[in-house]
Symmetry: C2
Subunit: 109 residues, 2 copies
DNA sequence: TGCACTATTATACATTGCAAGGTACTGTGG
DNA sequence: CCACAGTACCTTGCAATGTATAATAGTGCA
């Protein structure tokens, strides 16, 4: 999958998934990778950045399947940011789809 | 509009628009900007890169509204690349939209 | 003990959109 | 005649972010 498509959209995906419930990094990697492949080296720096910017708080929970999991919980401004990104994504993807439809419909043979 | 969303998608947009007919840079900037704002400093280097990679051939046409226009015409491999990117975009945006729908539907209040 | 799986962290790199700056042509109004 | 707006192109350096790669470490099983 085109690497560049993912730029910026990953932030959206992470925020959207944490709307449902608190998540830990490894879980996010695998859930998102069901839709399109992402690397661990992508998620962890992103989570740290979003936490630093105040969109997440974190807490550790012991796991019996490995080292303790760091859970990420959305803050209020994290929720606002999620809503904002969702709205922007919808407008953006609509615009792109319109261009594609117009492009294909009027395509010269 | 979120800058990061555009990464890679601009290439798609430029290719899609040239499926219809040959275009020149200034025209592409304004046509795409109807959907979401882009800068001239983005388009010209992009066109140059795509041309260098063999997706476009170019020719100049005199204009009575200013300097000559450099038109970009898709090559065969340019068309193939366009089809490929369109397909990838569709799968990608579908995946993102599914995550968003699931995220919002199951959102905790 | 060794291995597979889970889980986190850090560093260096490549790609690409943008701001800011520049050149140059045409037509219009003062 | 000259200033200006609009058209049209180009270049440079910067910022953002996904990735590869690697290191670290806990658990449970053969």
């Amino acid at each position: 999958m085109n690497v560049q498509f993912k730029k910026g959209v990953l932030t959206l995906c992470v925020l959207v998934l944490t709307l449902q419930k608190d998540r830990y990094g490894y879980e996010l990697v695998h859930t998102i990778s069901e839709k399109f492949l992402i690397a661990e080296g992508t998620i962890y720096p992103l989570l740290r950045r979003l936490t630093k910017e105040g969109y997440f708080t974190t807490y550790l929970v012991e796991s019996n399947e490995g080292p303790p999991r760091k859970y990420y919980q959305l803050t209020d401004i994290g929720q606002e940011y999620a809503d904002e990104l969702i709205q922007e994504w919808k407008e953006f993807s609509l615009g792109v789809n319109q261009l594609i439809e117009e492009g294909i419909l009027n395509e010269q043979k």
